[in-house]
């Protein structure tokens, strides 16, 4: 048997994340005792209509979230208990809503910091309705082998260690959530464990008192003794003593009260004026409470440390008198399945990773690029080209190489609004499309006819240099196997109208004391091709390609330089259009040659 929470308890949890966490803990307990999850619904208006996934064993259970208690109990008429995890400022309203629902008999409030007046109103309302309002600031209620409400009992290992999978003979009532597990543990080590443990909450005036629970325990034949963990202040312990002493009780009572230290604290360290003044008769002190309990016949150990032996003594007496029998523990208990992370930590499973990376790692406090922390790179004067070097080529490029990369980026950041990429971005911007989609529209223009020649130009120039081809051999090879030479030729620029960007880049690279075999070869090729036709000059793509191959970037990364730098321009064009609130573009008829057939009659359908 148990009190308050038993195998028939069905729960609605009022609240968000904290409530979901409690449901998870409750599911762990249900799994341990091989019972279905006892949480039927959540009430949390912001998430109404959704469901919360609660792990149970190795599976997941979806628990619906409702807007109101009435909706929850309408769909789940078996609900008889509510756990309140709502914030302190709304807790009273939530508690009242639950108390007023005919289905609900027990409301346990976990919320801390609820105003005293609100807690008293809830307590009074519950008494009027003949229901139980437990808390606020309750850690929960647990009945061994039957039901867990809230996180009381702690982690799964502790549930097992404290033998909460099966019933014992001791009831527990505590004000302190932190001590509830300790007492449950002691009961399982020095005796046969607990029936029900209740956290009544540490507030000055909790919704219930020890007496109401003592009466329930007295009526529960399985409970043979009750352990009370009290505190200074208030008079709940004195009332419990009065109840216990009033007549012969079936249950044995064991109690400890904290707060003796108050007697030796410096004068004036007493908390609160009311207590001090009213305390002239000694009420509310740990000593008065202890004395009252002793006088009523309870076993009151001198210290908390002596509680274990006191429980043991009581248990031995119960054994001797035949009121309890030695417990035989079950041979096996369910084990909570480990998560993959936990199992890996314990070296119990090996997982084949889904993907592999060799360039970056952000699992620490900041991302590392090829092993170098980003902030350290900044603080030591490295710049964006070095980050490109690390992420694209896994090497820390030199200052000189970084300068070349920087110049390439600057020279290719934007080529005006008319080129395919920028035009596509502008078109998208004018159609009201967002930044990333518009930039992507521009980006997908990059191909063999627009900026996408960098990689191919690099590939073939390198092929020629590696195979020590002459320019003639190279051109013959290209003609036979590829077609026009990538990186050669421009739509508007020519020998007579040279491309300043190419001149600038070539001039700079040649001014450095470095070997540039690809660039040299490309320039030789240009001499031959431009002699044939004056716009067959080395273009920006070809120049970038040759230079980047010369400083060692991998062929496959080369188009990336164009994509990256041109993105700067594409973003600029989108922002520019946005800023101008550009109108929607429709192509003018006169820009289209309508070469389609003239209007004609549609033949009848055959």
């Amino acid at each position: 048997m148990s009190i308050l929470a038993n195998k028939d308890t069905r729960v609605v949890i009022q609240g968000g994340a904290a409530g979901v966490n409690a449901a998870r803990r409750m599911a762990e307990f249900c799994y341990l005792i091989k019972k279905p999850l006892n949480v039927e619904a959540f009430v949390y208006p912001p998430d109404a209509g959704k469901s919360n996934e609660i792990p149970y064993g190795s599976g997941l259970i979806a628990i619906p979230v409702y807007k109101t208690i009435a909706e929850a109990t309408k769909h789940h008429p078996q609900i008889n208990t509510s756990l309140v995890y709502i914030g302190a400022d709304r807790a009273m309203k939530g508690g009242m809503e639950a108390l007023d629902d005919a289905h609900i008999k027990v409301v346990s409030m976990i919320t801390e910091g609820v105003p005293e007046k609100d807690a008293k109103l809830l307590g009074a309302h519950a008494r009027k309705l003949g229901k139980v309002f437990n808390g606020p600031s309750s850690i929960g209620i647990i009945s061994a082998g039957a039901c867990r409400l809230g996180v009381i009992g702690g982690a799964f290992d502790n549930l097992v260690l404290s033998k909460l999978y099966r019933e014992g003979s001791f009831g527990v009532i505590t004000k302190s959530g932190g001590l509830s597990n300790e007492i449950i543990w002691i009961c399982s080590q020095f005796a046969d464990g607990i029936t029900t443990a209740i956290g009544i909450g540490g507030d000055a005036y909790p919704g219930t008192d020890y007496v109401s629970y003592l009466e329930m325990f007295e009526r529960d034949p399985q409970t043979k003794a009750v352990v009370i963990v009290g505190e200074m202040g208030g008079d709940l312990e004195e009332r419990a003593a009065e109840w216990y002493g009033a007549k012969k009780r079936r249950i044995k009572l064991i109690a400890v009260v904290s707060g003796f230290c108050q007697e030796s604290l410096p004068k004036g360290m007493k908390f609160g004026h009311a207590g001090a003044k009213e305390g002239m008769k000694g009420e509310g002190s740990a000593r008065s409470k202890s004395d009252a309990l002793k006088k009523a016949g309870a076993l009151v150990p001198a210290t908390f440390g002596a509680l274990g032996p006191a429980i043991k003594e009581t248990y031995q007496e119960l054994l001797k008198s035949g009121q309890v029998k030695e417990v035989i523990e079950p041979a096996t208990l369910p084990k909570l399945p480990k998560s993959v992370e936990e199992a890996m930590k314990a070296d119990e499973v090996m997982v084949a990773p889904l993907i592999r990376t060799t360039i970056s790692d952000d699992r620490g406090d900041e991302p590392c690029y090829d092993g170098y922390p980003a902030s350290e790179l900044i603080n030591k004067g490295y710049e964006i080209p070095h980050v490109i070097g690390l992420l694209w080529d896994k090497r820390l490029i030199s200052k000189q190489e970084a300068e070349i990369v920087k110049r390439i980026m600057m020279l290719s950041a934007d080529h005006g609004p008319c080129v395919s990429g920028a035009y596509a971005t502008i078109l998208a911007a004018c159609a009201g499309i967002g930044l990333s989609q518009s930039v992507a529209a521009g980006m997908i223009m990059i191909g063999p006819r627009f900026g996408g020649a960098v990689t191919d130009a690099g590939r073939y120039f390198k092929h020629a240099v590696d195979n020590k081809m002459s320019v003639d051999e190279f051109l013959a090879y290209m003609k036979k196997n590829v077609g026009p030479v990538p990186g050669i030729g421009h739509r508007v620029k020519s020998l007579r109208n040279p491309d300043k960007r190419v001149k600038e880049l070539v001039g700079y690279v040649k001014s450095l004391n470095i070997k540039t075999p690809c660039l040299d070869f490309a320039l030789e090729v240009e001499k031959v091709t431009s002699a044939k036709k004056d716009n067959l000059i080395l273009n920006v793509d070809g120049t970038m390609a040759a230079v980047l191959v010369d400083i060692g970037f991998p062929i496959d990364s080369l188009n990336g330089f164009f994509i990256l730098s041109r993105t700067i321009g594409l973003i600029g064009h989108w922002v520019d259009q946005k800023r101008q609130d550009s109108r929607l573009i429709r192509l003018f008829d006169y820009l289209v040659n309508y070469a389609a057939p003239k209007r004609r009659e549609v033949p009848p359908l055959k």
Binding site: G178, H273, A274, A302, T303
Partner: protein, 400 residues
């Protein structure tokens, strides 16, 4: 509970129609002089000046001066402001008019388990404390307000007669209204006096304890709460409170000068048992502390640093029950960082550390504590199989 100083306390009473003397809270003699020019009552009546701080026995300390004129009040303010009393500096003085009176009474409203109680006595001042049986009570259920008849019956019981019955009943009714509307936990006026000039009942002082948890529905509570134990908070205490207000979970810290056993336990309930055990074994507490509700490790680290900074400590008790959901490894991580910092600052020389704890990741946490031995800490680590407060016995018994 949250104690409120006299000034804001009287302000709340005034808000609900209780007569209070004219008063002003000032931070300098100059401010008082200016107010004195602008408000006639400073010149028309005798004045009382009191240090407006959470200090016990202000009379003995010379921090209450009576029967003053404005000049005298200015001099008293000048004398009091800036005075150092223990850890606190007097920064405010409350100056109020003296109310000529012959009769003194008592009225209070206090929170009880079922609701509240109105207390009335037809004696006041120190007389009421020695004649506590003369205090009569009216018990009220939560949600219930006293009727005029209830109140008149109460004050008659307390010995009021004649015209005073109605007046005192009204006064007590207003006290209850103030108590109820302001989420108070305790309101006391001692003495309530009969003003000779107009025969009105006036609250001569105010002890006000409000429910700090209800602050969210009182936007006009724009005053700070004062420490509840007869002294102001220390710098370290205020720093820990500042951390406490920022985090999920909680950290608490109260200094007790002269002790040698420092407390760093977990959980509100267990912490008191640990303190009890220290006292029961004849040890001397250096502080009260606790952390609970799975606070972040940095907050526990701050708390640890404060504990390690306590002067003259010989033992540190890192006690705790079996946690429900506080991550032992993580919170111990904060404590370990705090210990390391303290040690590198030259603290913890000759200090023994005693650890007992259980809960989520207890093994990892306790192992990490044990490893501190290798770093030269004098640390003794126990697990859930050692009864809760046994480390206190070991600590208090240990020598050298």
């Amino acid at each position: 509970m949250a104690k409120v100083l006299e000034g804001p306390g009287m302000g709340l009473m005034k808000k609900w129609g209780i007569h209070v003397p004219n008063y002003a809270v000032v931070t300098s003699a100059e401010e008082l002089a200016k107010l004195g020019q602008a408000n006639d009552w400073f010149k028309q009546s005798k004045l009382v000046a009191k240090a407006h701080e959470a200090l016990g026995s202000r009379f003995k300390l010379g921090l209450v001066k009576i029967d003053l004129d404005l000049k005298g009040a200015e001099a008293a303010a000048k004398d009091m402001i800036g005075r150092q009393v223990g850890s606190i500096t007097v920064s405010q003085v409350i100056v109020s008019e003296m109310i000529p009176h012959k009769e003194e009474y008592y009225c209070a409203v206090k929170s009880t388990r079922e609701g509240s109680e109105i207390l009335v006595a037809n004696c006041g001042g120190i007389e009421v404390e020695s004649n506590w049986e003369r205090v009569k009570r009216l018990t009220l259920e939560i949600g219930q307000a006293p009727t005029g008849e209830d109140l008149e019956k109460l004050v008659k019981e307390a010995g009021f007669t004649g015209a005073l019955v109605k007046k005192m009943a009204e006064f007590a009714g207003k006290m209850f209204t103030c108590f109820d509307n302001e989420d108070a936990q305790y309101l006391e006026v001692n003495p309530v006096v009969l003003r000779e000039s107009d025969g009105e009942l006036v609250a001569l002082d105010a002890v006000t304890l409000l429910d700090g948890d209800a602050k969210f529905r009182h936007p006009d509570w724009n005053f700070p709460f004062a420490a509840e134990f007869g002294r102001a908070y220390t710098k370290h205490e205020l720093e820990v409170m500042a951390v406490d207000s920022k985090i999920k979970g909680s950290v608490k810290f109260i200094e007790i000068p002269g002790g040698d056993t420092a407390m760093l336990p977990a959980g509100g309930g267990a912490s008191v048992y640990y303190s009890d055990a220290v006292v029961a074994r004849g040890g001397k507490l250096a502080n009260y502390a606790e952390y609970s509700g799975d606070p972040p490790d940095w907050a526990v680290e701050v708390l640890t640093e404060k504990v390690c900074s306590l002067p003259g400590i010989k033992n540190i008790i890192v006690g705790g029950a079996i946690a429900n959901f506080t991550d032992v490894k993580k919170t111990f991580g904060g404590i370990i960082n705090g210990f390391r910092k303290a040690k590198s600052d030259g603290k913890l020389k000759g200090v023994k550390i005693w650890v007992r704890r259980g809960g989520p990741r207890e093994k990892e946490g306790l192992d990490a504590m044990r490893a501190l031995k290798d770093e030269g800490f004098d640390i003794h680590v126990f697990d859930r199989n050692t009864p809760l407060t046994d480390i206190v016995d070991k600590a208090v018994q240990s020598k050298g």
